[in-house]
Amino acid sequence: MNNLNSTVVFRYPKLVLEELIMQNFPEFFRIPLKDWIDSLMSWLLSNVQPVFDVIGWIILKVMKGFEFIFTIIPWFIFIPLIAFIGWQMTKKWKFAAGIAVMLLLIGSFGYWEMAMQTLSLVSAAVLFSLLIGIPTGIAMAQSNRVEAIIKPMLDAMQTMPSFVYLIPALMFFGLGRVPAIIATIIYAVPPVIRLTNVGIRTVDPEAVEAAKAFGARRKQVLWDVQLPLAKSSIMVGINQTTMMALSMVVISSMIGAKGLGMEVLLAISRIEVGKGFEAGISIVFLAIIIDRITHYIAERQEKKIKEH
């Protein structure tokens, strides 16, 4: 008895020490962020829902518009058209032929319609990303304070697992393509913001100063000097944003966005490896085509200046 007592007394301070610094974070120090966010969510859902409805309506309209364009053009016109644009861009017939072959392959897998659905979803997401991203990038470039505020937000948007905002998007906008586009925008918009900001900030300061010295207003400096000189950087941003938007299509399909992503999802859930590969490679083809075309637009700007 005596013996036992002494061991308890002996061990007790050690336990407290371990509890405090070695193992568990102290119970009393808990910030209830999750509760705050949950109550914010329910407040938003019950009070601001009309705003989300309007946003959702606009996004859906734009998306439907793209879908209308992409589906009304039959494949036998669409393929030569895109190939011709590619040829116009590069003046390389191999490039144009490559595009045509890739599009034909997508059709031959039976995914033409779904590819067009995916394309319209991605197009709408990219359009909104640019409408948000380029002005935000410009604002960031004009002010160090704005940059300091937005930069960590971009970091969060790029590293936050997309499911974390996929579910709230679902709650605000319901199932379907609209929350998918919202989630895609959140995931895809950072590159165009960053590269617009960096592009404007790295414009030759003497060129900007020269414009000011000749009496140009801020707006003139922006339009006549900063944006043209940052153009290739912004184009790289647009290219990356588009690529990231495409890489979101499978995740988007989890909340009901139809298209190639849905096919991939269905195929893997049924363990149909071949079907999954067909749908997957179709996404890759779309990515390659969009990447190369936007890439050439960016490059053409540089070339025009250098080669004269």
Binding site: E206, A210, A211, A213, F214, A216, R217, D224, H308
Partner: protein
């Protein structure tokens, strides 16, 4: 020399302090502290310290200093690309530190043109569009823009290059585009921030020479920043030397080289050759002996013999220099000709000799004193003899004196 032109820019008590709450630095006795002490005490960096200067219309005004001396800041405050912390800047009598945003833009558009060290051209525009940039900002009609820009390009020798892009041009040519852009709007005042510093030495010298020639024609007021003393001495009418943001000395090239105000300026100019800046006018003396055209040859010979000289200058009634007469020629003339009673000193006896103007620099006199047994005469625009420069005087002027 500076006082003879009406002023176009006057700067009074100008301070520029970089850092947080710069007015704190100005408010108290910190004015007497050095740049480094101020930085340690207040965390602010003084860019310009109590600058006052006056620039005359049509003058070539140089702002010189090493990097960090504040020269680029100073030229930028003149159109408020950098806003001064305190002080006044008058341009054509108007205090521009009080201008509203719109008036300031108008001032930049209409009165100033600026040339930059690294040209500051827009690579996505053609040479013509670059030259027209200032006109585009002024919203002139496109045709007029092109016309005026073309004219400016012709002026700087770039006719025929208008459809190229800046990247296709060499550094010297790019700077010509920069100059054309500044000239196109026909500003009264040209601000030039180390415009030739980025060029190869040979191109630089060529550009300086051409620019001097151009300035002869244009007669603009030029504010020119450089760190290159020889460039400053070559181009400037007036030089302001900046040291740690304060003016160390303002003067003509000659004053700066021959009479440096302090140790800093002395060190700065110690390698400069006075021969490049000291003018004939400043070291000439009045001639000790003159002959007049109405004196006969015989009289002249007598005078020369009496004063024990081989020859001297001859002037007419208006004190115009006719040339020199020497004993040898006088004797020959008297011996050979019958009209020994000729009453005047004329061409047969008087030999015409080269003369220089007052502003001729000593370097240009070297070859003349080298081949000429007489002192070099200095004449006015109308040919009047003002004085003479002797070889001894030249040597004295260019030898370093402690």
């Amino acid at each position: 020399m500076a006082g003879d032109a009406p002023e176009i820019i006057r700067v009074e008590g100008l301070w520029k302090v970089f850092g947080r709450d710069p007015r704190r630095v100005l408010s108290d006795k910190n004015g007497s502290l050095s740049k480094e002490e101020l930085r340690r005490k207040t965390g602010c960096v003084v860019g310009l310290r109590d600058i006052s200067l006056t620039i005359g219309k049509g003058k070539f005004y140089i702002i010189m200093g090493l990097s960090g001396s504040g020269k680029s800041t100073l030229i930028r405050t003149l159109i408020r690309l950098v806003n001064p912390t305190s002080g006044k800047i008058y341009v054509k009598g108007q205090d521009i530190t009080k201008l509203t945003e719109n008036d300031l833009l108008d001032l930049r558009k209409n009165t100033f043109g600026m040339v930059f060290q690294h040209y500051g051209l827009l690579p996505h525009l053609t040479v013509l569009d670059n030259a027209a940039f200032g006109l585009k900002v002024r919203k002139l009609p496109k045709e007029q823009q092109n016309e005026m820009a073309m004219q400016a390009l012709e002026t700087v020798g770039l006719g025929g290059w208008e459809h190229y892009y800046p990247d296709n041009l060499s550094g010297g040519m790019q700077q010509r585009v920069g100059l054309a852009r500044a000239l196109a709007a026909e500003p009264e005042i040209l601000l030039m921030d180390e415009p030739f510093s980025g060029l190869d030495p040979l191109i630089r010298r060529q550009m300086q020479d051409e620019f001097l020639e151009l300035q002869e024609k244009l007669q603009k007021t030029i504010v020119f920043v450089t760190h290159d003393l020889s460039e400053a001495l070559k181009l400037g009418d007036q030089i302001a030397i900046l040291h740690d943001g304060a003016i160390a000395q303002i003067g003509t090239p000659e004053e700066i080289v021959t009479n440096p105000a302090d140790e800093y300026v002395r060190e700065f100019v110690q390698d400069a050759s006075p021969a490049k800046v000291v003018s004939a006018g400043s070291i000439m003396e009045s001639p000790e002996l003159l002959l007049y055209s109405w004196e006969g040859p015989r009289t002249a010979l007598t005078i020369l013999k009496k004063s024990n000289r081989l020859g001297t200058f001859v002037v007419d009634k208006e004190h115009k220099l006719l040339g020199v007469a020497n004993q040898e020629r006088l004797e020959k003339f008297l011996a050979s000709s019958d009209n020994s009673e000729s009453s005047k000193l004329g061409p047969p006896v008087v030999k015409e000799i080269p003369a220089v103007r007052e502003d001729c620099i000593l370097e240009d006199l070297f070859s003349m004193v080298h081949t000429n047994p007489y002192p070099v005469p200095v004449v006015s625009d109308t040919g009047r003899l003002l004085g003479v420069v002797k070889t001894d005087d030249i040597f004295e002027a260019i030898s370093p004196h402690e």
